[in-house]
């Protein structure tokens, strides 16, 4: 009998090109996603050493980080952004890589378009010069972020040198309460394990709560694995996965589909397989979360208050908490629902999918954004945007006073003109509340799409369970 294996171990072993004692494993990469920010230096270096892209047909690219979300037909207001976008265009042309460019309906955030096109499939290895590549793990793929030197390595060899990671099982049992979303689950997980709890590990999310989530919800969870320190997070493929995938442009058709599904069914972790680390959470106990600080682990239930640094477990945690409170201009003991906001950002690879927009639209339908708030919706891809418009969601948002934008990363990191002004406070559906992430001096509170929508209407955080 063979030893029982976990999902990530199976994928790892199926992609081993070469293994040698004392060296990292050489893994084959099934899909390499490329965007404009982390690739120019890799292509340049490739050119300088006279190397080619080994498998342009396993490489896909788009523009997302820099690109404006309004007035795309006008000249880009930032010449440097423009240069970066044009550089990607030139590189894709020179090396024969498919690009979903600015006016392609399929353009969007790199982690949204892979699953949307059906390029993301169970059992694959997927890499991208972007830490949120973990998103693709929702399909039972082993997907992780890499740096630019590694991007160059993958371009040249279609492989990656990687030390074998440890495995972590995070089990969320039971059932979620009303008003609690996948975003709240991952915020609760990160709060529990800490921002470095997953370092060196691949996380597999398990348990009834995960099984009952939609693919969108699973992607939200896997997306933020990196915020818990893990490079990859995955969920075993099941009927929900297959139903989501079927019929998408790049998935197998007809008999091939049946054969593919048959192979995917063998992927889930074997009975009796061991993980290096185990974590469990009770799903029923999770409440809607709001971050109050400058790391994604600094969150509390919306019914709570800003915690006191005095209660921190260690001296260094206390210092970190004090710094966070100063930066966020918050006082310990303040009720979360008394925190007033200036901006709302609905979007990003964490929560910029159609289901997120539907959920938020439901909350704002027939209501209006508070007079003190400026709110925007940035769909994760051109196709998400088109779908939302077919469903009339754009009208609901516009009627409620939201700005309705074109697809991109936008204010998740503010490389384009969508940024917070110093001191502005934002309820954001993105993934990072680091200092200055959404604009120098800006203050970010991470929440679910529903909570962001409700905050937009009220002008401050509200408990979504009292609104729905």
């Amino acid at each position: 009998m063979t030893t029982p294996k976990t999902l990530s171990e199976k994928i790892w072993e199926q992609h081993l090109v070469r293994q040698e004692e004392g060296q990292p494993d050489l893994l084959y990469v099934d899909l390499h996603l490329v965007h404009e920010v982390t690739s120019p230096q890799a292509f340049e270096s490739l050119r300088m050493s006279g190397r080619k892209v080994r498998r342009p047909d396993l490489t896909m690219s788009t523009v997302d980080h820099n690109i404006p979300t309004i007035g795309r037909d006008l000249p880009n207001p930032d010449p440097l952004s423009q240069q970066q976008i044009e550089t990607l265009r030139t590189n894709c042309k020179e090396f024969g890589i498919q690009l979903f460019d600015m006016f392609d309906l399929r353009q969007g955030i790199v982690h949204i378009i892979g699953p949307e096109q059906g390029l993301t499939q169970p059992g694959m290895t997927i890499v991208c010069g972007d830490s949120h590549t973990s998103t693709h793990g929702a399909f039972g793929a082993l997907a992780f972020g890499i740096g630019t030197s590694e991007v160059e390595h993958v371009l040249a060899t279609q492989t990656l040198l990687q030390a074998r990671p440890k495995t972590m099982s995070i089990e969320v049992n039971g059932e979620l309460s009303f008003g609690v979303t996948a975003k709240d689950v991952i915020l609760a997980i990160i709060r529990k394990i800490g921002v470095d709890g997953g370092v060196g590990h691949v996380i597999e999310y398990r348990g009834d709560v995960i099984r009952n989530l939609s693919m969108e919800g699973r992607m939200t969870i896997c997306n933020m694995s990196i915020e818990g320190g893990a490079r990859a997070g995955l969920v075993a493929p099941d009927e929900t996965t297959f139903a989501y995938m079927q019929g998408r442009p790049y998935v197998p058709k007809g008999e091939d589909w049946d054969r593919a599904v048959e192979a995917w069914r063998k992927l889930p972790t074997d009975e009796g397989a061991k993980f290096d680390t185990y974590v469990t959470l009770d799903g029923a106990a999770i409440e809607p979360h709001v971050t109050w600080g400058t790391t994604p682990a600094q969150s509390v239930p919306v019914s709570g208050r800003v915690p006191s640094p005095e209660d921190a477990a260690t001296a260094s945690a206390r210092e970190t908490a004090e710094r966070s409170l100063t930066y966020m201009d918050l006082k310990a003991g303040t009720r979360i629902q008394d925190i007033a906001i200036d901006r709302v950002f609905l979007g990003s690879c964490t929560n910029g999918r159609i289901e997120d927009l539907r959920a938020a639209a439901k909350v704002v339908s027939g209501k209006h954004v508070a007079s003190t708030v400026r709110a925007m919706v940035v769909p994760g891809s051109g196709l998400v945007k088109a779908q939302a418009e077919r469903e009339g969601l754009d009208q609901i948002f516009k009627d409620a006073g939201f700005e309705w934008r074109d697809a991109g990363c936008s204010m998740c990191l503010g490389m384009n003109p969508d940024i917070l002004m110093p001191g502005e406070r934002c309820a954001s559906t993105s993934n990072r509340n680091f200092e200055g992430r959404q604009g120098a001096g800006g203050r970010t509170h991470l929440v679910s799409p529903e909570m962001a929508a409700a905050a937009a209407v009220a002008g401050h955080f509200v408990d979504i369970r009292e609104v729905l």
Binding site: V37, D57, D130, G147, E150, G229, K253, R432, G436, A440
Partner: protein, 200 residues
Amino acid sequence: MQPVKDITGNAIPLNRADVDTDQIMPKQFLKRIERSGFGPFTFFDWRKDPNFVLNNAAYEGAPILVAGPNFGCGSSREHAPWGLEDMGIQAIVAPSFADIFRNNCAKIGLLTVVLPQEDVDYLIARAEELPAQRIKVSLAQQTVSIEGTDWARHFDVDPFVKHCLLEGLDDIGLTLQHDEDIAKFESTRSPLLPTTSTAA
């Protein structure tokens, strides 16, 4: 990549946990398409505080950075290590590092050294007290020592990373030597796997 030699010089004490790459290299500088010249942009926002350690002339040109746990967390941007390297940092000592950041450093020959929290605390205190204190980081010996004292600590390093750093080896060149293995693997891949040219 240049081979990593013994590094001797003073150390910058950055006593903060969870320093993320958004702080090390803020987004507005990621638009450049060059690989060099990122040094002046490191910690751009934190440098606005006159009391920030990098604004202290005593640490100018120091080749070693000592920092709190989980250094380099967040975004995968290699621009962060490029910036640190460009400002003259050759080794970073911390109780722990984020995975991607650590990989990125290894690829460009920037040494990351993990020491227990109490040793890092000691180094930070020493560097704060005596900004000119010279510290030696030897990859060959796998030691960090404080010059003029008998304080010395051993650190662990992945043997392959050590070998590559000491020899200044180019990963891609190494992997390309295994072209046959790669081609062999490719010939066994399932035909059902997607390519970017096979959309329906």
